[in-house]
């Protein structure tokens, strides 16, 4: 083999630099000659294709009948077992599939084998002819002239003003999309508060039974809701902010910052379960590594370091719920969270 123009673009003859222009081109040889199909030459093949198409349509009819059989015979109302449901679903699907594919494949097979397969040529037309353009410009000019909008600026300007203002009420109409009727300040402020308050018992999710400090052993994780949540007015709204994860670890292993010394009970700590990234419940507790992982976006928080972010997209630590023990030995909140729970928002601040 000789040199068939390998090499870098600069020195191989095949790569033209941008400034030399290819002058000549090969002429268009036109459409390749038409090649007749089997069915065009052989009437028996055409007859065979005809039978195949009819067979495909028959398959479709059988598929439709099969659908009815599976609807009425396999299906019945109420208490179908999963196995029955699975079989019926598959039968309905296959019945429909055969009914449709029979028609579709049949028609296409018909078109491919028996309808003429000569490619035709149609020429394209100019999208806009110059004559049309001139006519259109003339018409538009006439319209503008007859309306007098150019000659009467007072009308024009007041109309523009009116049209600009008219849609604004339509936007304001949506103010009551927020159904509670709170003021803007109240809307923002409510994000800072949850059901937790001094003395509110920590209870199990979903039963609502209170938890004794002695119930919580090292390595365990309790999913916690505030007492009385299940009876609250907006259960889901309150729950969306108040859910807490309660864990116990060896107090020796915990780094506690100033001001939080009395927020735990012998290594029992409570943290908001709402991820500070975009709010998924963050409940994957690894008892040996003390890591909390969010299953949605993999933010990882270190329980030993007051749930600081160690990996993933969350931007700040999980808020801690200060807890203590009441006279009966049950765990209660010392106060509400000291910062808003959940994702950061514009008004959140420090």
């Amino acid at each position: 083999m000789g040199d068939h123009s390998h090499g870098s673009p600069e020195n191989s003859g095949t790569v033209a630099k941008a400034d030399d222009v290819a002058q000549d081109r090969f002429p268009d040889p036109g459409l390749p000659p038409h090649r007749p199909r089997l069915a065009d030459r052989d009437p028996r093949a055409a007859k065979r294709h005809e039978r195949q198409v009819a067979l495909l349509f028959t398959i479709s009819i059988i598929g439709t009948l099969f659908f009815f059989v599976s609807y009425f015979v396999l299906g019945h109302l109420g208490d179908m077992t999963f196995a029955e449901l699975r079989v019926q679903n598959a039968a309905l699907g296959l019945g429909t599939a055969f009914a449709m594919l029979g028609i579709g494949v049949g028609i296409v097979h018909w078109a491919k084998t028996l309808m003429p397969d000569h490619e035709l040529v149609e020429s394209r037309h100019e999208i806009r002819t110059e004559a049309d353009r001139q006519d259109a410009v003339e018409i538009v000019d006439t319209i503008i002239e007859e309306s007098g909008i150019k000659r009467r600026p007072l009308i024009r300007n007041s109309l523009i003003g009116a049209i600009a203002l008219a849609p604004i009420p339509a936007i304001f109409m949506f103010r009551d999309l927020e159904r509670s009727g709170k003021t803007a300040g109240e809307m923002v402020e409510q994000l800072r508060h949850t059901m937790w308050d001094t003395g509110v018992r920590l209870t199990r999710d979903p039963s609502g039974t209170p938890i004794k400090a002695s119930d919580v052993q090292i390595g365990s994780a309790f999913h916690v809701i505030p007492e009385g949540l299940n009876e609250a007015e907006d259960v889901l709204n309150e729950k969306a902010k108040a859910v807490v994860l309660l864990m116990r670890m060896d107090p020796q292993e915990m780094n506690i910052s100033e001001g939080r010394e009395d927020w735990n009970v012998d290594g029992i700590v409570a943290y908001s379960k709402i991820c500070t990234h975009v709010g998924c419940p963050i409940a994957l507790y690894e008892q040996h590594t003390h890591h909390l992982l969010c299953p949605c976006h993999q933010s990882t928080f270190d329980l030993a370091n007051e749930c600081k972010v160690v990996f993933g997209p969350a931007g700040h630590a999980l808020p801690q719920l200060p807890i203590m023990v009441d006279a009966e030995g049950y765990l209660v909140a010392r106060s509400d969270f000291h910062e808003p729970v959940g994702p950061a928002y514009w008004e959140r601040g420090q």
Binding site: M1, S5, T14, A16, A18, D19, D20, Q23, D24, R25, F26, D28, P29, G30, L31, G75, H76, M80, N89, A90, L92, G93, L94, L101, I103, G104, G106, A111, K112, D117, E119, L120, V121, S123, R124, I127, L177, E178, A184, L191, P206, L236, A240, V243, C275, H277, V278, C280, P281, C296, H297, P313, G315, H316, P343, A344, Y345, W346, E347, G349
Partner: protein, 556 residues
């Protein structure tokens, strides 16, 4: 005034046709469309797939609306699915379970609807990729490209609003993520979230609102855009691949009646059949597994449907803190601190924004760089537009890295690698991947173009080894026929255009920038073979063979 010579049909069908024709002028329509030519190529079918899956969505969706109740009122489920009996949930969730278990064929229709939805957006995407990589968006089709892009976005909107309707645990956590992303928007975010959910998350209003968007506004907009889209397709006539007999001034293909109509019509039934088959055999979105929405639980593997995945993946890739540096910025103002949540804003808005901006603007970007404002009805083979193909590949890789990131947890468990490592690798790929893809794709395109040149100049390898009288071996090369040669040599060959002075002889800074980009795109270029080159090669070819024989004999 009675017309004496009006046409009177003799058959019943003829009379009916004539009645319609004389009222609406159907003859004109038949004349216009009856034998209209459409080119035939498998890659032209994806738009049809999108259209047909959309029809399936309308059909199955209408069925579902008869049984679905989009209320968030609390009910206790008493249907026939035992593991949820007696559990409190929203009416929306309960009615979804009823459709699945207590309406015959309801489960099948749900699965048809959901599989169609996934296929709808997938075929839209593939259709757009086909249009991009073949250059079908060029003048005069720029506007239709934009309409198509808006259709894709509306497809995403339709999918997302529908995904949330059953109010199950999976979609509920999806909504919670949307709530978090909304709240991250500066200044308006908190209020936007409150307005969207009718108060605090989750509230009792969001599902009915999404429902009216999902079954009314969004499909109406899609239908409107679809009509505009198809109208423009008819106005422009379809593009065609280059080849002998195909020019910028003609369309080569099959007439609507009967061949094209039969194929396109038959294809609807085929798509329907495929979707029905998949829906019968493969389960999708088993909401009964996820259970009703409750803000406390979450399931491992919480992901959106595939088309929202790339945004979810971007959210996963973004680090929230780097060492001590947090991407949540607290900005002090006289009235107090405000938070700028870059850890959410950047990944949620920037990659998707960049992708869609470049996508919408691409026809104009390309026109500006190439100074090519001609009409194009002949498509490019992707190899013959290396710069565009390489840019497209870079975009696809950029998208796919984010897409893969949305399944980082499943990649970790299924390939037995650490979740954190998957994220680190994907973070690196996010930046490096598109660059590598661009470079590699361009090299591949240029190599393929060289191969085309090779074939034209020296013929194709016939696979036949010949022995010369001297005992030397060589492979026989067969010259390509004129049709193949025309295909391989006739392409739109973009070249570097240096900065051009304007009328006043001044070269603007913008023009210099354009020239730079033009140089970057077209500096490396493989020109089509010209007849004179071929003649020269043929003259030299004999020489080559003599040379080859010499070499052979020397080796012996």
């Amino acid at each position: 005034m009675a017309t004496t010579n009006e046409y009177t049909p003799s058959t019943a069908t003829g009379r009916l046709a004539n009645f319609v024709d004389t009222r609406v002028g159907a003859s004109t329509i038949v004349k216009e469309f009856g034998r209209k030519i459409f080119p035939d190529h498998w890659s032209f079918m994806f738009g049809e797939v999108a259209l047909y899956t959309f029809v399936l969505l309308l059909l199955s969706g209408t069925f579902l609306t008869f049984f679905f109740d989009p209320s968030m009122a609390h009910v206790v489920y008493e249907g026939s699915y035992v593991p949820l009996k007696g559990i409190g949930m929203s009416t929306a969730m309960a009615s979804t379970l009823d459709i699945s278990f207590d309406v015959r064929g309801g489960l099948f229709m749900r699965q048809v609807h959901h599989w169609s939805a996934l296929l709808f957006v997938a075929s839209l995407s593939v259709h757009m990729l086909r249009v991009f990589f073949t250059g079908a968006f060029r003048r005069p089709r720029e506007l239709n490209w934009v309409v198509g892009g808006v259709l894709l976005i509306m497809g995403l909107a339709a999918g997302f609003t529908g995904y949330s309707l059953p109010d199950d645990l999976l979609s509920g956590n999806g909504l919670r993520i949307i709530d978090g992303v909304m709240k991250a928007l500066p200044v308006v975010g908190t209020y936007l979230s409150m307005f969207f959910f009718g108060g605090e998350f989750p509230g009792e209003h969001v599902i009915p609102r999404l429902y009216s968007l999902h079954i009314m506004i969004v499909p109406a907009v899609i239908i409107l855009l679809l009509v505009i889209h198809l109208f423009m397709v008819v106005t422009h006539k379809h593009t065609q691949y280059p080849g002998p007999g195909r020019t910028n001034d003609n369309v080569v293909g099959f007439p609507v009646g009967p061949v094209y109509a039969a194929k396109a019509g038959g294809f609807f039934f085929i798509v329907f059949g495929i979707v029905a088959f998949i829906s019968g055999i493969f389960q999708i979105n088993p909401v009964w597994n996820y259970g009703p929405y409750d803000p406390s639980p979450v399931s491992a593997g919480t992901q959106p449907d595939w088309y929202i995945g790339f945004v979810d993946g971007a959210l996963r890739l973004m680090p929230g803190v780097l060492g001590d540096f947090s991407f949540v910025w607290n900005i002090p103002f006289p009235w107090g601190d405000n938070s700028l949540v870059l850890s959410v804003l950047l990944p949620a808005l920037v990659p998707a924004g960049a992708l869609f901006t470049v996508m919408f603007a691409w026809p104009w970007i390309e026109r500006w760089v190439t100074k090519d404002n001609r009409e194009h009805h002949l498509l490019d083979r992707p190899r013959n537009a290396p710069f565009r193909t390489a840019m497209g590949a870079a975009g696809v890789v950029f998208y796919c890295v984010m897409w893969a990131a949305a399944s980082s947890d499943l990649i970790a468990t299924h390939f037995h690698v650490a979740l954190n490592d998957v994220t680190y690798w994907l973070r690196a790929l996010f930046f490096v991947g598109p660059l590598v893809a661009f470079w590699l794709t361009r090299r591949i395109c240029l190599s393929l173009q060289r191969k085309d040149r090779e074939i034209v100049l020296h013929g194709r390898e016939a696979g036949i080894i010949q022995m010369s009288p001297e005992g030397g071996f060589s492979e026989k090369h067969e010259e390509v026929d004129v049709y193949k040669r025309y295909l391989l040599t006739n392409f739109n060959d973009n070249q570097y255009i240096p900065a051009q002075p304007d009328a006043a002889g001044h070269i603007s800074r913008k023009e210099k920038r354009r020239a730079k980009i033009s140089k970057f795109f077209f500096e490396d270029r493989v020109a089509p073979v010209t007849p004179s080159e071929l003649a020269a090669a043929k003259a030299a070819h004999g020489h080559h063979e003599v040379e080859g024989e010499k070499q052979d004999s020397i080796e012996k």
